[in-house]
């Protein structure tokens, strides 16, 4: 069981994810160059945070055309688990694997803080080990984290119980306090907070551990 961590030009949380999954949790992990299309032997893929392709045009707009992502669509269809963190979440929405879009924070600030979050659904494996409504603290670090979608999409997300994570004190203007969503099947999770930065007590908290642990959970 191995996790693939995609490295785009401009990714800057790829090594943090590796440190968390391999170093802190002892999960088999390897890097995956964005030009690679071979996902053989991988059981889960992480799209890490950063500024892929310099965030040119829109966050994630150019990364969407990376060769690795054409294989990723097939991987998701076959039930493979995909976690998009921050820029990875933005890429998943540009790719259409998750609905909606991430736009400029309401207050225009780049927000770098550790914030309280509430688990809103434990329907999927990602949050199985949490209680519904359980509070956890994770770092956020983004300028474009304001989740937006149409009223229809929001209704659908609610009906399908796909809103996984909400901000306790909405920092960026996201509709419905959304911090993370899953697809209907539950194998794709996109979230703005960084679980990989909360896996080591030395760094102030370990609330991200169970989320990353779920990458290889059966």
């Amino acid at each position: 069981m191995t996790i693939g961590i995609v490295v785009f030009p401009g990714s800057n949380c790829d090594r943090d994810v590796y440190w968390a999954t391999k170093g802190c949790l002892g999960l088999s992990s390897r890097f995956l160059w964005h030009e690679s299309t071979d996902l053989d032997g991988l059981d889960a893929i992480v799209l890490p945070g950063g500024f892929s392709y310099g965030d040119y045009l829109r966050c994630g707009a150019i990364a969407r055309f990376a060769p690795v992502l054409s294989s990723l669509i097939e991987f998701v269809k076959n039930g493979g688990k995909v976690l998009g963190i921050c820029n990875g979440f933005q890429i998943l929405t540009e790719l259409g694997l998750l609905p909606g879009a991430l736009t400029r924070n309401k207050n225009l600030h780049f927000i770098c803080n550790t914030v309280p979050l509430l688990v809103s659904s434990k329907r999927t494996k990602w949050f199985e080990s949490f209680k519904c409504g359980e509070e956890l603290y994770l770092p956020i670090a983004h300028g474009e984290g304001c989740y937006q979608c149409s009223a229809d999409v929001l209704n659908k997300l609610q009906e399908e119980d796909s809103i996984a994570l909400r901000y306790a004190n909405n920092p960026n203007g996201s509709i419905n306090d959304i911090a993370g969503i899953t697809n209907k099947e539950g194998n794709v999770l996109g979230m703005m907070p960084h679980p990989e930065r909360a896996c080591d007590n030395e760094l102030g908290g370990i609330d991200g551990r169970n989320i990353l642990q779920a990458l290889l959970a059966k």
């Binding site: 045009l57 829109r58 707009a61 055309f65 929405t93 540009e94 609905p99 909606g100 879009a101 736009t103 400029r104 924070n105 309401k106 207050n107 225009l108 304001c146 937006q148 979608c149 149409s150 203007g173």
Partner: protein
């Protein structure tokens, strides 16, 4: 092959919050600009393209605008196309 010049205007949908536009609007008021009721910030993309005719250029540019330059979830786009004066029709 004829050369076409295009300008694609990308703007946030009216239902989408434009915090940068709101901030610029506040600054405009401080500058003393009166009567401003709307200020929305978008992008303008300048393009030159070779195509056999207007139809082909339009098809290519519509695909480009819809799939790459704009994200239809949050943005609208508008395409203006004209044939470059320097190009000759063959």
């Amino acid at each position: 092959m004829p050369n076409f010049h295009a300008k694609v205007q990308v703007s946030l949908r009216t239902s989408v919050l434009d915090p940068a536009g709101e901030a610029a609007k506040l600054a405009a008021a401080k500058l003393g600009i009166k009567g401003l009721t709307k200020l929305r910030i978008g992008k303008a993309i300048d393009i030159e393209i070779e195509a056999s005719d207007v139809q082909e250029a339009t098809t290519q540019l519509e695909l480009l605008s819809d799939r790459l330059l704009a994200n239809p979830v949050i943005e609208d786009w508008n395409l203006e196309l004209s044939q470059s004066k320097s190009s000759s029709i063959t």
